[in-house]
Each structure stands twice: as C-alpha cells, then as structure tokens.
Symmetry: C2
Subunit: 285 residues, 2 copies
C-alpha cells in the first residue's frame, strides 16, 4: 500500500468515539487541506458506514465539528462523519479581491474552476468527489459501500449536486437550508460566474434543480429549511427544489421549520434526526 | 415592578426553545455583564426549573452556549439553562499583569475579591450568587424554588462552593472536572492569593473540600472527570473530593471517565446525562 501522508492534528475522545482533525497535501487543490472525522468506538476489525457533511460559506471543518452536535447521534447509530473544508487555503491561494465572504477562500462551492486565476487551486469538486473519499477509504474503518451525504447552505448545494452526479454512490441524501439552484440566485451568479465563466450551460452540472431537470435522480431526500432564514427568499429558494422533485417523482421530505434561522442553532436542532435518518438507510440490507 | 435594564443581544430559535444572549449593567461588578439563557418552549404562564452552568478559565457565556450540547436535553426535560460570564469585562477592568489565562479577565473564580486593585470589579460571587438570580427570577419564566447548579473546572469549583454556602437553594449539584480544592493547587494559590490575600483562612469559604470539612453539605452530587485530563493530577485532584464526601457522608457519584480530556469534547459527551439527572431532581415533588 502506498504511504498516505496524513498528519494527525488532533484526536480527542468524545461521545464514545474519537473526534479527529487531519491535514494532508491535496493533489486536487495543490494545497494542504484539513478535514475532520468522527469514528464511533466499534469492535476491532469492523467497518462503519460514512456520512459526509459539507459546510457552508465562511466555514472550515471546525464549525460543524464544534457546533454541529452530531457525535452523540453518530455514536448511537454507528456512523462515521467526515467534514471537509470549503475551499483551498494558504498564502498562495488567490482570494476575492474584496475578501468577500461569498467567493474565494471559504467559498469553493464544490466546483472545479475553469477560469483563471481560480483553476489551479479551486478544485473542490475533485477533492470532495474523488481524492478525499479515496483517502478516507484507505485510512479509516469506513465501509464505502454504505455512504450518505448531507450539508448546509453552500454545502447542501454540494451534497445535492455530488449525489446527483454520482448515482448509486450514496444510499441517503439530506441537506440543511441548501442553495438549490445557483443558476437562480446572486450567490450562484457570483460564484459560478467567477469560477466557471459566463457560459451558463456549464453551470448546470453544479445546479441541483438543473441536474434533476436534465434527468439526474436521488435515491431519497430529507431537507430542513428554517422559515426565519434571512437567505430563504433571495438565495435558497427551497420551493424550486420542491417543484423539481415533484416533477421528477423524487421521494423527498422537504420540511419548512417555523422560527428557525440559517445558523448552527438551526443545524444542530435537526442534526440528530438527520443522522438517524441516514443511519436507517445505511444500516439497511 | 422596577424596570430591569436588560438588553437582548440575540434570541435564536433552537431545539424547540429560544437561546438568548443578554447584556446588563451589573451593580456587583460595576461593569456591563453578558449571560446566556436557554428557555424551552412551554405552555404560556408556566414556569420551568433552572439549571445554572458556570464556565471555566478563559471562557465567556459563549463557549458552553455554542459547544455544550445542552439544548436538546434541556428542551426534552423542560429545564432553563443559565450561563454567566466568568469575570467582569471592559477596558477599565484590571487584568493580570502578564495577561495570564488563570487570573484576571476570564478567571474570576466566583469570589468577591478583597485585595486591590481587584476588589472593585472582581465580585463574581455576589454577581452569580445574588444579583443574577434576582434578575433571572424577574425577567424569565423561572421557578426559583427548583434550581440546580453545575459547572466545568473553575466553574465546577464555583458550582460546588456556591451550593455548599447556600444550603437548601439547589435541589441538585453536579460538576464536570471541577477544581475541588483551591487550597491545594497552583491555580488556587494564584487566584485566591491574588483576590483574597495571603491569609489562607479566608480561602476556606471558596474551597469545596474545606467547606465540607467545616460542616457544609450538598443534597447530592454527580461529577464526571476525564482520566486523560492533563490538569487532573496537579490542579483538579478529584480524589480529595471523593475523600471529603466519603468522610462527610455526602451521597456522591464521582465517575472517572477513561480517555476523556478537559475540553468541551468531554463536557458535551456527558452534558445530556447531567441535564437529565438534574431534571430528575428538579421535577420531583
């Protein structure tokens, strides 16, 4: 087996498992990347299913790791949770000229950029879709035949689009307050326009609603969306996903949650339910 | 009713309740103080029991509010959780000359300082024992006849000593990795020496083991302590509390937890159990 150069940043006992943070040089992004993995205690030699959590704008692996409240549920259900970063990092990585929160560092949008100066490092699609799964399969007790995926906001967009482009890979797909159609919101205009250029046809593979309209399908779907989320009307547009799923006949539970906003106070409120829902699919058969 | 000048910093829906952060001018400390309160949804007009959580060195209200994972358990049990700050704050508040983490700002030790320049602002005992409870009783749906108290490290010390000095006030007392005897550790030497002066007889009312030896009692006690906690041997010395409780006949469950450290990864692992344990006492009778 090839040596995998992964550095242990920290490994901490928590909730009857081990919360780790790891660093490694990424071939996809050409940078050092950091990610976190929670592994429940288990009988030696056994493998556990994997739930991917993709984070939203401005986040690193750390936000969900500290505030996501997933460990009790993952330990209870026997599910590994992997949380990647949201963009390449480092002094050499180009950032938005105005250091805006919604482009550049912390805002990789899970795309492989084609436009300069972004194309060299901003390859979070390849990183999350290909490179990191191979690494996880190599060094963790992960049963890659049993994967689920979820995410928040930009990470919900990432979860939906990665699942739609990789049929059969995920047994379960969920999201918290996802961006459902970058073709139809200012965040999407800025990010996909910047990373992919003005040809909007090239954006469709990064738009959950467009992918569904073009024939892609999900095995199932659980979405929670706060009704008091300040980004709902202009950026998230949950109803576009409701419509796309209905038209395509995708089994989807898309739940509007009165009073909840866009923060980790919202995410953590529904995290245990999402983990248990994924576990139900991941432990089946 | 006198007007209570409390400013709402934020109120956020979470876990079927409201997580608030509030600011107010404190008469005890002579400064603005910030605290957080989680109030589960409840039938209008009803009051809920209160669990106090006192934080450790370097913390504000925010650490447990973000990382403590108490809300699901508090909502389930119908318990309000109050989290005060750990010291006075502000440009005019004196701090440790070297800005050390274990004295001055973030390190109030829940004492009323008698030494200059600390005596003016460092009055966290009066703040947490008297002023803040009156305020909580006034503006929240809190049943002050049903209170429990817990805390972490320096806050565990605070919880134990406040409960020991106020017999009958708390129906339940617990702690995470508490400093059990400031008379017998470097943190205690520095903090109590600084705030109270060299007369160690004056420290005894701020030392859980000394208070017990001097006749104070607790109604019950639940303590969790990580065996991989780097502060255990030199600062926390859990066995002193085990001995004091045994000698005094205090009903105490003091549990050593293999592999756990001193962080919120440890605290959050056992938080739900502590909340449920308190709720069992608070909802009784």
């Amino acid at each position: 087996m090839e040596q995998v150069p992964v550095q242990v940043v920290s490994e901490t006992k928590s909730h009857g498992g081990t919360q780790g943070v790891y660093g490694h040089p990424s071939a996809a992004t050409g940078t050092e990347m950091t990610f976190s993995v929670f592994v429940p205690d288990r009988p030696e030699g056994t493998k556990l299913p994997v739930l991917w959590y993709l984070s939203g704008l401005t986040c690193t692996h750390a936000n969900v790791t500290e505030k996501g409240e997933f460990r009790a549920a993952c330990a209870e259900a026997g599910v590994i949770l992997v949380a990647p970063d949201t963009s390449p990092r480092g002094d050499d990585v180009p950032d938005d000229a105005d250091k805006a929160y919604d482009f550049g560092l912390g805002a990789g949008f899970y795309v492989d950029a084609t436009q300069e100066p972004w194309a060299r490092n901003y390859r979070m699609r390849s990183y999350v879709e290909s490179e990191l799964p191979e690494l996880i399969a190599t060094i963790f007790p992960a049963d890659m035949a049993r994967q689920g995926i979820t995410g928040h906001s930009m990470g919900g967009h990432g979860a939906l689009t990665i699942a739609l482009r990789n049929p059969g890979r995920f047994r379960s797909v969920s999201a918290f307050a996802p961006i459902v159609s970058p073709l139809n919101c200012p965040w999407g205009d800025k990010a996909l326009g910047g990373y992919l250029g003005p040809d909007r046809a090239a954006w469709r593979e990064y738009d959950a609603c467009a992918l569904i309209a073009d024939g892609a399908r999900l095995p199932n779907l659980l979405v929670d969306q706060g009704e008091a989320d300040g980004f709902l009307a202009e950026q998230l547009k949950t109803q576009l996903l409701v419509g796309a799923c209905a038209k395509a006949g995708i089994e989807a539970a898309i739940r509007m949650q009165p009073g909840y906003d866009h923060s980790y106070y919202f995410i953590s409120s529904f995290m245990a339910e999402h983990v248990a829902w994924h576990a139900g699919h991941l432990h089946r058969g």
